[in-house]
């Protein structure tokens, strides 16, 4: 694969993946609400089109630069995440020795992108959503860091390719049972979903998204869906063996296995966002700092003991 083909393929993957997440969302909403699904395959495209033909608005005295750039930053971060994922055992679009560290940067810069989105509107609801998101985003990111360091320990490497190879005998989802569930919580936060939707929530009339209309809103919503794809591909890589397949397969089948595993994680993410309640922020902060963070640390210690023995 040359670089240009890979970039185009990644772009198409992000479009197709975002569409798939939107379809999953509609299926989950209909199943939970116990009603017929209705229009399914075209519906995400129709909604996207109605945003694209709409008119972009400007609030009173926004932070103009960040108002324009925040949705694009969020989208770019989702792209960077996907580019890091090794789609075959031969490597990723961006194959660097510390891939998992760069993913950590994607996580923390997402907090910045969401904050700037809320901040720049110069309006009450987006601003409240922005600050609240940062308060929750920090501890959940710490949880994620512990989880990812634990996953890197058996590989004794920060390269995603090495983490995949370290799972040849046993996937991390079995070796470190706490890892994937805790990492899924981070995925809900990165994509502003369900129990971790503190930024764009109903009690803020859409939060950081409340003042948006037209094409920039389409970019913001696409970025949210793309980040779900990016996160799921990363989770499949770190915990489900990435492109590793059954023994009878060949290395060429790697992208297929990774895609299937990514879809499984996506389905879990969508289901969780429709089925689980969101608690008030202060209650969530208590849960994060006193239960989830110590739990992730226990997971890290266990992984360290296992790797040392």
């Amino acid at each position: 694969l040359n670089a240009a083909t890979a970039v185009v393929a990644t772009l198409l993957l992000m479009l197709g993946g975002a569409w798939l997440v939107a379809v999953f969302d509609r299926i989950a909403a209909a199943l939970v609400a116990r009603r017929p699904i209705g229009s399914l395959w075209l519906a995400p495209l129709q909604s996207g089109a109605s945003l694209l033909v709409g008119r972009a608005n400007r609030t009173e005295h926004p932070d103009g630069l960040n108002w324009a750039l925040a949705p694009a930053l969020y989208l770019v971060l989702a792209f960077v995440g996907v580019a890091l994922v090794p789609f075959s055992t031969r490597g990723a679009l961006v194959d660097i020795p510390a891939g998992i560290v760069l993913w950590g940067a994607v996580e923390s810069l997402t907090v910045v992108a969401v904050f700037l989105h809320g901040w720049s509107a110069n309006a009450l609801f987006p601003l409240l959503g922005a600050y609240r998101y940062v308060a929750i985003g920090l501890p959940i990111m710490l949880v994620s860091m512990f989880v990812l360091i634990a996953a890197a320990l058996p590989a004794q490497s920060l390269a995603l390719g090495a983490i995949v190879q370290s799972q040849a005998g046993l996937w991390n989802v079995v070796r470190q049972p706490l890892g994937l569930p805790l990492f899924l919580l981070l995925g809900l936060s990165l994509t502003l979903r369900g129990p971790f939707n503190y930024a764009d929530s109903a009690d803020l009339a859409g939060g950081t998204d409340a003042e948006r209309s037209g094409p920039p809103r389409a970019v913001w919503q696409w970025a949210r869906l793309s980040m779900a794809v990016s996160f799921s591909a990363m989770a499949a890589t770190v915990f489900l063996g990435g492109p590793l397949g059954p023994a009878w397969g060949t290395a060429e089948l790697g992208p297929l296995w990774l895609t299937l595993k990514t879809i499984v994680v996506l389905a879990l993410l969508v289901a969780a966002s429709h089925l689980l309640a969101r608690m008030p922020p202060s209650r969530m902060l208590t849960l994060l700092w006193t239960v989830l963070l110590p739990l992730s640390f226990v997971g890290l210690v266990a992984a360290g003991i296992e790797a040392a023995s």
Binding site: V53, R55, E60, L124, N197, L275
Partner: protein, 363 residues
Amino acid sequence: VAIAWPWLDRLAATAPVAVFAAVGRDAIERVEDLSLDARIAWVASPRHADVLLVAGEMRSEDAPALRAVHDQIPAPRKTLWWGTAPFQELVSPTVLPLADEALAPILNLHTSLSNSEPNWLPDAPPNPWQGLGPNGQGGKGMMGGVPYGRPMAMTDDDGRDGLPLDQTTVQIGPFLQTWPAGLVLELALQGDVVQHARVVHPPHGPTKDIFEGVSSRLRSAARLLRLLELGSLAERCRWAAAAHDRRQAVDIVALRTAIRRSGAFAALPAGLGACRLDGAPGDIRSRLLAWLGDGADLSKEAATDLKPKLSRLLTGLEWHEAWLVINSFTPQQLHGMALCEKAPAEGDDDPSSGTHPAMEHAH
């Protein structure tokens, strides 16, 4: 910025119509039933809407907010007046009695969007800058005041630990999606914590029978679930309410089980919104549970003189908790509570209250 490709326009025309509902008296259940149709998308912010649905009788004091909300809808836009009298200056508004179905008229309006409505307000700040206090904005020194009608922060002590922090006073309501129709609150916020709350306008009092049926209670539960980001379960409650209205059987036990499994009760802090209502003690959890009951205790809604103060219940809560508490009362209960504490005269002509719409800073 607008993209003009014919095929994109055709695809967009097949999308559900995004409707922002400004709800007045006795119309919320009509709007909630309407939103169950897949051809309608009931949106939370006027920025996301194509059509403004003015549903139910409006009060004259809500007119400025209604005009502002209209102007926040990006053009092209249209308005449907459903069971209420339109503003007199409008040329050929679309008006419909509340008894009629609004779906077809909304779909019709959507096809004629290109002929958009102009602004209803001049594109100017509601307050002038000059002439108020030493720096022109009002307030003390360089802080406080309402420059251009936008409240500015003023340092005040935090009610919980006395730490001095910036405090902003804002008006919330009367037109928000998960919010009692007509309620306008003035909140003094430090971060997202409510330091003081004052009822500016009470919510609309329902004119129908005081008796609350199963379907009304399911709709109340749906509003609370929506605030817990359980939109799909909330929709299930609204479907169940609509089915009950059509005299179909509704399995409330299964519904209650699904809600319990979502962790909704665990997510609500125990003791939040605790008060004695109509003589019976309870908190937000017990009120949600009662709404999802089998209807055995339906007759306990009779009004008594004992009313908790809404402003006291909200003080010290963070934003999300405050919204949950407000939505943990039925419209009847909330109307009774808010009516007792509405300060007459004060607030109505207060220059600092201005003409804030549902969302601050947004014009």
